[in-house]
Amino acid sequence: MNAASKPVPSHVGLQAQSPWRRVVLEFISSPTAVVGLLVLVLIMLVAVLAPWIVVQNPYDLMQLNVLDARLAPGSANMDSGYTYWLGTDGQGRDLVSAILYGLRISLWVGIGSALIAAVIGTLVGLVSAYVGGWLDALLMRLVDLLLSFPVILMALMILAWLGKGVGNVMLTLILLEWAYYARTARGQALTESRREYVDAARGQGIGPWRIVVGHILPNCLPPLIVIGALQIARAITLEATLSFLGLGVPVTEPSLGLLIANGFQYMLSNEYWISLFPGLALLITIVAINLVGDRLRDVLNPRLLR
């Protein structure tokens, strides 16, 4: 599996046997995963390009008009004549614009926090496994503590203390999620560190830091990538949940979760679109990420290899 522990093959041979190439080939052999990936790429593209595509900046109060509030999908804007294809929310926000901007927040919060949590968690896991002893015990009990707490409750506590805002939501998610990576990285690293190639490296007098980063870490990556993909989806859902509960983003800059929460009060009066469309956007994003994540798990899990 590891290039460093194998005899050096010819250049062409390396290409043909590259594990990542196999991963890519296996990944695209599943049509649903490919569809998921395409949808995800598309969503990320429109989210990144949102400021240039939308008709209205939904976070600029100057561009909103409360007289356009709660218009049904397909209604025309009163001032400049563009159409609200998905209707408007209670403040006169164009829902297409609001959803795209909301996706930006969701993806930024989700991917950003998942990546940072991954780096922190992996490092902690590796150090814990390699050093062992009381440090390992301490770190892993901390992880146990974090994992045993209901996530929402923890998040509510942290946010009540830190206050609202996108930055604080990310911080909260990072604080909650690094534990998953740490636990996995440690387990994987413990297994790997008993392998022959690690002994061989030690025998050659390679320093511990180089062994951990250069030899053990690459072999721990596959499961961590899988967790990463699923944690992004989890982080996005959690952000939406926290915003729905009024603890996430500011009300004038709604994310998907807050859009859904705002529309919730109009559900009984048949103004369904305010909640429905942001909800669908959230649903599609999460499903796409999960499809990709599931497939990655299948192709990266050595135990599922035939």
Binding site: M62, Q265, Y266
Partner: protein, 521 residues
Amino acid sequence: MQPRVRSLIATALLLAAGGVSAQDLRIGYADPVSSLDPQLNNYAGDRSVALHAFESLVNRHDDKTLPGLAKSWKVVDPTTWQFDLRDDVKWQDGTPLTADDFVFSFERARNVPGSVASYAGAMRTVESVSAKDAHTLIIKTRTPNANLLPDVDSIYIVSRHAGANASSADYNAGKAMIGTGPYRFVSYVPGDRTIFARNDSYWGGKPTWDKVDFRFIANAANRTAALLAGDVDVIDKVSPTDVERLRKTPSVNVFAYQGLRALIIQPSFREGPNEFIRDNAGKPLAENPLRDVRVRKALSLAINRQAIDERIMQGTVTEANQWMPANTFGYNPQVKNIPYDVKQAKELLAQAGFPEGFQLTVHVPGDRYPQAPEAMQAVAQFWSRIGVKVQLEVLPWAVYAGKANKNELAISVIAWGNGTGEAAYALTNILTTVDSAKGQGASNWGHYSNPLVDKALVDSTAEFDEARRRQILEDSVKVVSDDVGIIPLFHYQNIWAARKGLKVEPLVSDRTAATMVTEQP
């Protein structure tokens, strides 16, 4: 008395028809309850719960005062009031009610440990309360106070024998929950519900309901859903977004009444820099621009109140130009609706030295006043059009109230209940100079201070002639309006909904209690 008589008839009719023997009423209400101690906090939720078990000195209906625990009263001299108390009233544990209980109640209300919204304001003019005999009460005031009845009537009467050593926790535990009201306490689950049962020894008409399940449902949509699902019989504070839907539902009746509660913006008058008021570069301004009447006027003129009424509140409010709604004692008809005038607002801002506006952080509680965050978002939109860039922060009430009380905010929002139905109540609590020793300005979160307003309260309090008192209050409305001491937005309607067969009639302002609900065959 009217509703009581009616409820009596309704009950009689039902009994005669041999109908249901056990009549239970389940109410879903919106206002959080901080404590069952009826004297701890002057909060809407606390007052509604207390209305079941406790009573006050007299009965007030809108701006009329009717006999209650006191049969009659007279002003002996301008600073001495004498009340003749009913002698047939018993506490729910059987002990007779005496004047001494009133003495105890009024003294306790001045200072209940742990209070964050005390009743001290109601007692500000009272020098002493004493019992002449078992059923005669004397209240002496420091200065003549024509407004004494609405003042002291906001204080619930608790018993000395059960309450002398009771803390607020003893009320929550039920130990001290012994009142004279139509319903007696059964159980209380904080944040969830209070259960009451009929007080069979009630001195008035027989209370309609055997058992009252008074349930806290914070979310308006959840209240509506609970009513539609039949989980509760009555809900209060129906969300404007649900009114139309409920009106169309045949199994439900909607009861909307002109309310006394006004949503009011309180600008901060604090001197010096405020972290929530910054120049366009983001640096806190050295001086508070809100102290300039031109800036306050600009902010008021920039708001399209009609749009808020129609688009946000869906026609369930009335545009406000002062703190009292029309046809109340102290309402000034000369003060006209505030026009929506962006041009003039911009000019005023420029004159005040802010042609490009400034940055302003606005705070609003998210869990207390119906639709307040939504309305304030619209206000933020309007203000942004004159260059005042608003950041809106929605806070939980517990956090918000603490900050507002310390005058830490730049713009605070209050939905003032005007519970006594006359203008002096707001003068006392939200407009006069903050002075806790005098019990003034308890909810004057912006620390507005105007000698003319302070004088108006003093004068109106001393004026026993009703016409002249009315005039003083109306003049004070004009003073505040010209000075833009507060920025009024709208008056809420009070909206209840009940399952078919029930009728809801308001008792006082927007309180909700089982006594308001009668059978309607």
